[in-house]
Amino acid sequence: MYVTDKILPELPAPSNSKGIVHWLKTNLFNGPINTIFTLLAAFVLYKVIPPAIEWAFIDAIWFADSSSECKLANGDRKDGACWAFITNRFDQIMYGFYPEAERWRPNLAGIMLVLLTIPLFFEKTPKKAWLGGFILVIFPFIAFVLIRGGYFGLEQVDTGKWGGLMLTLIISLVGILFALLFGTILALGRRSSMPIVKSLSVVFIEFWRGVPLITVLFMSSVMLPLFLPEGTTFDKLARAMIGIILFQSAYVAEVVRGGLQAIPKGQYEAAAAMGLSYWKSMFLIILPQAMKLVIPGLVNTFIALFKDTTLVLIIGLFDLLAIIENVLGADNAWLGFHTEGLVFAAFVFWMFCFSLSRYSMALERKLDTGHRN
């Protein structure tokens, strides 16, 4: 008989329930069907990934002064990607036709925005609301003066010369700013007890949500000039912006409405019982809580808006995609590098959208306190 008065040390787990073999067995080769799937998937990956890496990195040409370096002697394409197409015209992809000497101005505006925004991401920053207000209300004027110029001795750069990634960012940021404003008003209107206000808001929201953005852009570029008194001219970019803002505020309104509905009725009643007026109860009690709830939804709306800005290509503005497609794509010196341009544009958009969507997910997890009413 075996007797011990000591506690024996823990034995290691049996070798078939740990380690890489065990992991492979449970995650890749459990059962015949899964094994077949794994092998098939591995085969597809083997067929797709190495050639893609070879094309994009190994055989790629990163810098070149002219397109001939990307071509073989007989004028055919070389095997790898010709990223020189992008690096060579990088400035234009970023700024469009913005004059080179003035590019420090959008740069400065961009840097200011980034520096102002970073503190918002830290918990401990004091007076966050004031900082946010500054970014939303005052900064747009500063950025406008900087980028368009015409004041304080800055040379005026017309919107027709704006382009590239700069224009994409401007359209989406200005778009979300105004859409946030109008969307919130519309959401309040939809929840209003006044029948006419309510039905007008519903009609407005459902109308814009029911039509595609491209028809809205067509409308704002073709019909807006007709709507205005004769002789008024209207900036092309401004026309597109109006269309985008009308369209997007309907979507923002629905997101904000979700937040308003999630606030328990007691909050509305308590605010009324305190004797607060409608606007005071909204701005002091309801909206601060509702807006916090809908931040992830708003980020998702912003992602959608950001992707939708590519549509301005169709009405002849030169955003990132349009510069690559219509300006560089039509440049005789660099013909035949369409794929590289598209892949680059896709990558830029993907980076922005992916990181924003991860941010929105993280926010959702952080704001999800587990309470449900």
């Binding site: 794994t38 006044m194 006419i196 206000v197 029911g210 491209i214 067509f218 073709v222 004769e230 794929t339």
Partner: protein, 397 residues
Amino acid sequence: MSDPRQNSSELPSKPPIWNDPKYRAMFFQILLISALAYFFYSIVQNTLDNMNARGVSTGFGFMSEPAGFDILQTLVPFDSTYSFGRSFIVGVLNTLLVTVLGIVFATLLGFLVGVARLSNNWLISKIATVFIETFRNIPLLIQIIFWYALIVGSLPAVRDSFSLFDSFFLNQRGINLPSPGYESGFIYTVIAFIIGIVGSFILRIWARKRQEATGQQFPVFFSIIGLIIILPALVYFVTGSPITWDVPKLGRFNLQGGATIIPELVGLLIALVIYTAAFIAEIVRSGIKAVSHGQSEAALSVGLTPSQNLRLVVIPQALRVIIPPLTSQYLNLFKNSSLAAAIGYPDLVAVFMGTTLNQTGQAVEIVAVTMGVYLLVSLLISMFMNWYNAKMSLVER
């Protein structure tokens, strides 16, 4: 001076009229209505003035004038002698075609990827994740242009078409395939098909009633296959195969005969399907995850087989979560199909808002009609889905 306590039995004095919420609301709404009325009045006035100044006539008279242009893909007969009104119909049909095809394929692919993401096979689930995260974060327009360029760029010219059995051809101008020509006897096959569908419905109701009454099951699935597929097939062969196939023939420069699927349609469809499927996959995943594990355990412990568990317990409950967001994805696909204009697929926007608008200059009418069509279909789909949703939703006390 009176003691305020003496007045306590009286009603408090009415607030002045400008502080009464009822009158305030009324006043504000009247103000809003009049502002809007003035806004629309001045817009209409300005528009009329502007159109007069440009010498553009108003009204829908242009719809019956000859169009004078050809359209790449037409589901109903069309050439340049047909009217603008006809071109409108062609555009609507092309939009509906790509929408219906897109919805079918995007649903299939979306469900497949969504289930794959939940798979316990690590590799499969990671591939599904990468698929979703890649394609839903790239603007649809880029994807459409990319696939279209890939198709046109990588396929051979007409003379060097890939061919299959000398009747299917694949080249830069699309896919050429035999088109059916129906003879008079074909009507019997159609009748048999309709009988099969009606019979299946009756059979299903009868089988369900019998199961509820006696507990006996009837092989409904195989009977329905027999009714819908085998019965019309039998009739088709008995009546002597009344379809003649018009096979495309490779000529010197062109393929003659048969039907063509244009590359614009294929490129647009691939992009729309992949983009929408990435969103649908996430919806499907969250729907399936929303069904608690206890439901499956309960179903298995009362003796249902795994496939019965999936069919009778998990999927019906998951569908309740899936359907509302799925509807909005279908609506998105319908609206996104308007991006066809970028690659020249002749959808409603490209044909009507593009070509017809350029030819006639009737901006107001054309923009209004086009938006009206989208609005109408959007509202119809969402009404149908609301009805379906109400039917599927949990009946609570």
